[in-house]
C-alpha cells in the first residue's frame, strides 16, 4: 500500500491563492495520507521546470486578482503552456477554481487593460462586465451533471456541490466542454444560462471556492481515483473515510442556501 504516491502540482501558490484555496491542497494530501498512501506537493511557481511539471498527477489552481492573473499569464507561454495542455489532453486530472478557469479558456477580458489570451484548453471565454456591474457573490449550490453518474457508487456521493462564489468575470461555454452542473441557487458561470463550471477530459473548472474539496469530499475522492487510475493503469479502490463532519458542514449549507 505504502508505495502508492501521487504528486500534486499547485499552480502559482504565491499568486493564485486568494480564497482559502490552500484547503484544496490540504484536503487531497490528508485524504491520501489517512488511507495510508503518500502524496507530494510541488509548487508550480515561475521557477518551475518542465521536468517538474511532467511528474504531476493532479493539477490544482486557485483564484487570483486581475493583476496577479496577468503575471501568471506572462509566465505560462511557450513550452510550459504546451506541456500542460498535452497533459490535460492525455487525461491528467485537474481542479481549477475561481481565477484559474479564466486562464484555461480561450481568453479573459479584465475590467482594466487588454484582453488576456488563455491557454485555450477549455472551449470557453470569460469577460469582466466592467467595474460598475455587480460581482457574482454569494453561497452557491450546484446539482451535478451527467459526468458524475458513473461515480454514484461512491459512499460519500452527493447530488449537490456547495461553495461560495465571488467573481467579476462571466464565463461562456463553447461546444467542446460540458458544464460541471446546473445552478440551483447562485450565479454560476454567467448568471444567465444556469450552467456552472466546465469539464474537459479529467479537468474541472469552477467558480466554487469555500474551498470546494473539503466541503464536497466525494469530489476530492473522485479526483484522487481518477489520478490513481491514470498513474497505475488500474482502478484502485479508495477506502471509505469518516466524513461525518464534512457531510454535516455540506448539508447545513445546502439546506440554508436553498432556504434563502
Amino acid at each position: 500500500m505504502n508505495d502508492i504516491v501521487l504528486t500534486i502540482g499547485w499552480f502559482y501558490p504565491e499568486l493564485m491563492s486568494t480564497y482559502g484555496d490552500r484547503g484544496n491542497i490540504t484536503c487531497l494530501l490528508q485524504r491520501m495520507q489517512w488511507r495510508g498512501f503518500q502524496a507530494n506537493i510541488v509548487s508550480l511557481d515561475r521557477e518551475a521546470s518542465l521536468r517538474e511539471i511532467k511528474k504531476i498527477d493532479i493539477f490544482v489552481g486557485g483564484g487570483a486578482q486581475d493583476r496577479q492573473q496577468e503575471i501568471v499569464m506572462r509566465d505560462l507561454r511557450g513550452e510550459k503552456s504546451k506541456l500542460i495542455s498535452d497533459m490535460i489532453e492525455n487525461h491528467t486530472p485537474g481542479i481549477f477554481t475561481c481565477g484559474s478557469p479564466q486562464l484555461l479558456g480561450r481568453y479573459y477580458e479584465p475590467a482594466f487593460g487588454k484582453r488576456i489570451e488563455g491557454l485555450g484548453i477549455f472551449d470557453m471565454v470569460s469577460v469582466h462586465s466592467g467595474i460598475g456591474v455587480p460581482r457574482c457573490i454569494g453561497n452557491i449550490v450546484v446539482k451535478t451533471g451527467d459526468f458524475f453518474n458513473k461515480y454514484k457508487d461512491f459512499k460519500n456521493y452527493n447530488n449537490y456541490l456547495v461553495g461560495f462564489e465571488n467573481h467579476g468575470g462571466r464565463t461562456y461555454l463553447g461546444k467542446n466542454v460540458k458544464p460541471l452542473g446546473r445552478v440551483v441557487m447562485g450565479f454560476g458561470n454567467n448568471g444567465e444560462d444556469k450552467t456552472e463550471g466546465a469539464i474537459y477530459k479529467n479537468a474541472f473548472a469552477t467558480y466554487l471556492h469555500g474551498p470546494i474539496l473539503p466541503k464536497n469530499p466525494f469530489f476530492a475522492d473522485l479526483l484522487l481515483s481518477l489520478a490513481l487510475e491514470k498513474k497505475y493503469h488500474k482502478k484502485i479502490q479508495l477506502e471509505q473515510l469518516d466524513d461525518e463532519l464534512e457531510q454535516k458542514a455540506h448539508d447545513f449549507m445546502v439546506k440554508r442556501t436553498l432556504a434563502a
Binding site: 499568486l15 491563492s17 482559502g20 493583476r67 461560495f164 471556492h209 454535516k248
Partner: protein, 440 residues
Amino acid sequence: MANKIKVICLVFIGKIFSRLSRLFNLGNGSTWPGQIALLIFPEILTYYESHIKKGIILVAGTNGKTTTSQMLSTVLNNSHFCVIHNSSGANLLNGIISCLLINSDFHGRLLADYAIFEVDEATLPQILHYLTHKNLSIILLNLFRDQLDRYGEVDNIARKWTEAIRNIPKEAKLIINADDPQTAHIGIHAARLVYYFGLEDKNLYLKSKEHAADSIYCPNCGEKLIYHGVYYSHLGVWECAGCKETRPKTHLNNWPQPITGLYNLYNTLASVLTLQILKLSDFEINTGFKKFHPAFGRQEVFEIDGKRIIILLTKNPVGMNVAIRSIIQELKLTSGNKGGYFLLALNDLTPDGRDVSWIWDVDLEELVKNSIMLICSGIRSYDLGVCIKYAGCKNFIVETNLLNAIKKGLHSISPGESLYILPTYSAMLEVRKILTGKKI
C-alpha cells in the same frame, strides 16, 4: 438656516433614538440616527466640520483601527481636549454621522477640539468626499485580505483610496505605514505631506513567510518584491528590483507600547506619530498611555470564579495569525509548554463577511500544536471543525451554540487558568452579551 433646522430635528430624533435603544437593549442605536440624516441632509458632514476646532483624524486600514483610535482618544482626552470619537466601532458613514448627532447639543452645535473617526475601508472614499477641514489627518494602517465578498480584492480598495486621496485638501496630512507596500505606494504618489511609521528591528523578522501574504508583488510595476525582512504577513522592509520603488524612510520606528502584540506596536507608532504632528509632547503621550484600556473584544479580559476569559477579535487571516502568535508567546511564558484552552467562534453574518473560506488561509497548525482543548462554535462551527480536522487536530469539540460552548470551556479549566476565545465580529458581540448580559 434651513439646514440648521434640519440638523436640530435630526439631533432631537438621534438623541431620543439612542436613549430608547439603550433602554430597550436594541444594540443598533449607533447607526440609525445617521441613516436618517443621510436621507434628508446628506451634506451634514460638511455642516459639522466647521464645529470641530482643532482637527479631524481618520483611521483606516484592515486591522488596528479601533485600537489606534482608542489610543488617540485616550491621550487627547487625558490632555484635556474635548474629543468626539466613534468608539462603538460603528465605522460606516451612518455610524460616523450618528456619533456627531449624539454629541451635539439641542441647538445642533458641537463643541469639540478633535474628532477621531475609525473608518471602514470602503467608507474612506465616501467620507473624504465631504471633508474640507484644513486640519485633516488620515492614518493608513495596512491593507490585508478581508471580507472579499464585501470589499472585493485588496487592489480594488487600494485603487479607490488612491483616487479619493487625490482630492483631499492641500493642507491635509497623511500618516502611513511604510512597511506595507500597498499603503506606502499610496503615500509615495500622494503629492501631500506624508509621515511614515514602520519598524527597524531585525530581531523581529519572521523566520518563514506566512501563507496569508497579499502584496508581495510591486503595486507600482507588478514585479516580485525583494524583502530584506518580514515582520508579519506582507509587512516588512521591501524594495522593488523592477521600478526601484523602495520602502520610504520612517519618521518613527520605536515607542514603548501600552498593550502587547506586534500588531499593537504598529498601532502605537501610528498614534504616537499623529500625536507628535498635533504637537503633543512625549510626556503627554506617555502619561496618556498609562490610562489606556483595550477596546471591547480586543484582548479584553473577563474573570469568572477566578477563571480568566480573554477575547481576541479575529476577523481575517492576518489578524488571526498574529493573535495566535501572541497567545502562544504568552502561553510559553506563563504555562511552560503545556498549551492552552481555546474556543473559536465563526459566524457568517454581514459584519463578519459571508464568505468563511478565509479560515483555510490561517496557519491553524500552530494553534493545534499548542492546544489542550479546542472548541469550534458559531453559525459555521461545522466548517470550522472541518478546517481544524484537516489541520491535523484529532481532539476537538464542535458545539454550535455559543452559550453551551462557553460553559464547556469554562468547565474544563481551573481557577487561575485562561480560556482564549477567538470570535468573528458578530460572534464577539454575542460572547460579550453572554458574559456581561448586555449589548454594546
